[in-house]
Symmetry: C2
Subunit: 515 residues, 2 copies
Amino acid sequence: MQEIRKGGREARRALRAAPLAANQRPVWPGMEGGLYRPLADPDVRRVHAAALDVLAEIGMADAPSSGVELLTSAGAELQTNGRITFSRALIEDMIAGAGRYFVLYGQEPRHDLEPWGRRVYFGTAGAAVYMVDARTGEYRDSTTRDQYDIARTVDALEHVHFYQRSIVCRDLADPFEMDFNTCYASVAGTAKHVGTSWGDPAHMPASLEMLHLIAGGEAKWRARPFVSQSNCFVVPPLRFAQDSCRCLEVAVRAGMPVFLVSAGQAGATSPAAIAGSLVQEIAECLAGLFYVNAVKKGAPAIFGPFCFVSDLRTGAMSGGSPEQALLSAAAAQVAQFYELTCGTPSGMTDSKMPDVQAGYEKAYNHALVGNAGANLCYESAGMMASLLGFSLEQLIIDNDIIGATQRTIRGIEVTDGALSVETIRATCLGGPNHFLGSEQTLARMQRDYLYPAVGDRTSPKEWVEQGRPTALDKAAAKLKAILASHYPDHIPPHINQAIRDRFPVRLPREAMRGA
Amino acid sequence: MQEIRKGGREARRALRAAPLAANQRPVWPGMEGGLYRPLADPDVRRVHAAALDVLAEIGMADAPSSGVELLTSAGAELQTNGRITFSRALIEDMIAGAGRYFVLYGQEPRHDLEPWGRRVYFGTAGAAVYMVDARTGEYRDSTTRDQYDIARTVDALEHVHFYQRSIVCRDLADPFEMDFNTCYASVAGTAKHVGTSWGDPAHMPASLEMLHLIAGGEAKWRARPFVSQSNCFVVPPLRFAQDSCRCLEVAVRAGMPVFLVSAGQAGATSPAAIAGSLVQEIAECLAGLFYVNAVKKGAPAIFGPFCFVSDLRTGAMSGGSPEQALLSAAAAQVAQFYELTCGTPSGMTDSKMPDVQAGYEKAYNHALVGNAGANLCYESAGMMASLLGFSLEQLIIDNDIIGATQRTIRGIEVTDGALSVETIRATCLGGPNHFLGSEQTLARMQRDYLYPAVGDRTSPKEWVEQGRPTALDKAAAKLKAILASHYPDHIPPHINQAIRDRFPVRLPREAMRGA
């Protein structure tokens, strides 16, 4: 048997020497999910009908004056109590005319995303206020340099498909400088699609000017907008956030996709009943989508029901809870019913460190939300402590977790060849009675099986011989290698210089080797 | 806001003081899964058809002489190459008449399991040869005392529903003593349903005699058999394991349910193609079920396709792989098609320690296999290093992972009340604009939300103040408390004494306080 195994192993080793073409990889960005469906189809329609009831009968409070004008001009009604209501037909018509099937562009076309149907992509989000030391559990304030380092690490990771600014640049006291530099450090750190936010519409022109510079002019920016605006347009329950709404107006007019985040927390700012929390966040997102379409019909907007969970013993958020998995998966299903691009959180944890709890909370969320077919899984990598902290080592580990999740999303190929009756026959009737060196095994070992980058698969004996390396040890080593060597060069030096000449860039030049 | 939160918190605290009745718990044993379906229905039928092809055209080798007699008497054919083949109609008829809807009994009725349909239970399995030190990663040989300690820990854990012997009693050199004492330490350690195995039919009478003593006589044992026989009746691909087959015959005649485990390893002892591995293991399990029914028609047997995964770079098993999740979930789906009770592995890991990798590998497997509706998830708690090691601390942590998985299996209640339109209305129109103290929140906080036993949900600030406790720290403390205090007393002392008088019990009496 040892000899037989050895023969098979040598053949497999020879095969591995040949690199695999991208279209033969075991997983790829944008695979189709949808085989996990937490809601029955009639229940999806009930959630929709209840959301329409909420918008027609309760409506939204606190619209800014510009919003009142836009929304009522589009057919919504300002009630005497100051709330804006939306008739059921108005919302149905808006959904029918809303933007869909829009690409989220990268600065480089190889990173373009097509997040519709049941295709699934994974990316980061934010916004943590601490960086976590993965070994000691020390929490420190996050900085602009961290933003850049996270972005360029994401740039180097196969399974993290977009970068939404993950941390708050707490070294920058001035709100304008913070918004500008958050955008700068993100787009300088990765050529993948970027999401970021602005706290005040007055902060946006400088960033837009920078994005035009990078794109090669406004027309080229508008043709391939590679940054979307993450916009918390609502203060749940059912109140517009005025500054955010005015930022939304600027983004839509500037051709920037808007990510409409309604982040109610079940039991605190949305109902404790899972279905009710979903209803409220869907209603709020529909109101936000109505707002976007009132500014410009068909403008690209990501439908973002972020139905967060409270630990009702304390009122604190619990991003790693199983209820979170249900809420995000169900939110994806409702967005599929609307045929809208959905962004929803997956892969959060309540743990403060990259430990066993971080692993299991992240994984059951990813497995279910990913397999539900959520188009854009936000918060999917690096986040700790229910979004308060960020760990670069965990980011590397999450790349493995996402890869594994993608492998489950890819599912099972059922063809005559895969069913293998002839392979079994050849093996058992006069064959070697094992499959180690069979043609099928050699053909499928790299196309059908995903091998982890940092997960350890050695036997206890080998593992002890190697000094007991853990996935965290391997992640720390991989991170070190990336940070030491991966400096994206997608922005030409003269453009970078023009940006630095014109705007208050606070990322030290020496942080960007080659910049 | 601080005041408002405080008011809500006090109401919630008062409510928590009242204990919750069992039928109002957020999760319970045997919840219905099935909302994740990795195979389309036509593909399930193709897997079935291919398995029938395999049995009709390739068949099984190496049946013991008693098996040749039994199988051919029941209609199977002995071919000139020594293999036994089964016609398609013969297998279809056997499936139709096979035992289903049988209870797996506990020694106490509160632990009875009803594992059919899409109901899901979680338990341990085996058989590890090492115990793992969760802090140092040290591996040492497992012993009879470990068996007992694991069993009584399982006895104390809410979400681990049955105990299959998890480790090999390596302190016992004599095979008979090992088999007997494995059974003894298991049934003495827990009143939950037990699974164990015997290596030789001659080892079984002593154990059966003991089980009759515990039950209060053979008739009472046969009325409520609380031990099932885990039986690896096959050496994949498609060869009967002769000693195991003869053990199976004894078990069936003794009224003991048989768990038919076919544990091919994809790419090594079963095809590398996922669908093909499934086909072979289904075919083998059908052959095993045919064997059981040839001994006694309708005898209780658990259909156990254990489609393991190889890391094809080394040939080693990878229990934590994403391909494993697909295989086990698909196996459950095929068993549902047959309406047979399915046992399949979930919750294994390749990690050697209770670390982040152990967490994520276990969790994505549980999330998908559990939600696929596998009736009996084996290997679901405590196992490390792809079944080579066992960690008691991980067992405690797995109890939390399984609880969370069960919460996702429970799914989302969609009723008018849960949709919450009136709750939202009352909150937003003249209400407090939050849900912290609402009637719905108070009613649902303990029935709809599951709180982890060892998972940590504190904020970074509180966590630092508490000395940075991890889930592993809390698990170690919980384990210590259980081991110090939980000594099951379900076997009366005089019965225990009778067993010790009659058989070579090797578990030291002092290991069993009160025994």
